[in-house]
Symmetry: C2
Subunit: 118 residues, 2 copies
């Protein structure tokens, strides 16, 4: 699969709310996931660890609406924008998260995902 094919399918899955499924389908075994905030989730390596982060995230937030824009492609990388209307369950705070994901693809799998925040 080309970078654009992976990118388009990932966007379609996310737009349908299938975030975890998109990861299960495209994370490489050695995927690295990089957040901008410091802390235990700043850099996770390996599909199991990255999947755990997603499970934690899905459990900790109620997503009311997600807008997914993209993909934007350049070579082996692509960009997706996520705008989510969500509630943080622990605090009850409702907020809009505006996030950019930068993905690097090798052999049809995502080997790195890096998240940027507005």
């Amino acid at each position: 699969m080309s970078t654009r094919d992976v990118a388009k399918d990932l966007v379609a899955l996310c737009a349908a709310g299938k975030f975890m499924e998109s990861g299960d389908k495209y994370w490489a075994e050695n995927v690295v996931s990089i957040e901008s905030a410091e802390g235990p989730m700043a850099r996770l390596e390996g599909k199991a660890a990255v999947r755990s982060k997603s499970e934690w995230w899905e459990g900790a937030h109620d997503v009311h609406d997600a807008k997914v824009e993209g993909p934007y492609v350049n070579g082996a990388q692509f960009v997706v924008r996520f705008k989510m209307d969500m509630t943080v369950k622990e605090t009850g705070a409702r907020m809009t998260m505006d996030e950019i994901g930068l993905y690097t693809v090798a052999d049809g799998k995502i080997v790195e995902e890096r998240f940027f925040y507005g």
Copy 2:
């Protein structure tokens, strides 16, 4: 200047239509500019070459309206989204360009800019 400071100022300049000024202010002497399309502008190195590309671009297009979103920051990198309503002068074709710029900062200057298209 922090990455976020550079990012915010670049976005403010671009939102004011000052694209070239933002480059003059923040391109490092050894900046590398990477497009997704193949060809002579696929990879340009050095402030003079990158500036020439911008000059060509500005001369070849009429920008009617530009929407600039961001910045989105992660470490030494930031992302900006550009949505431009423009006309290609040579053909007269009016179009909307939806573009993502990924910038890498070192010592308060942009050392790499990489563009992604929708």
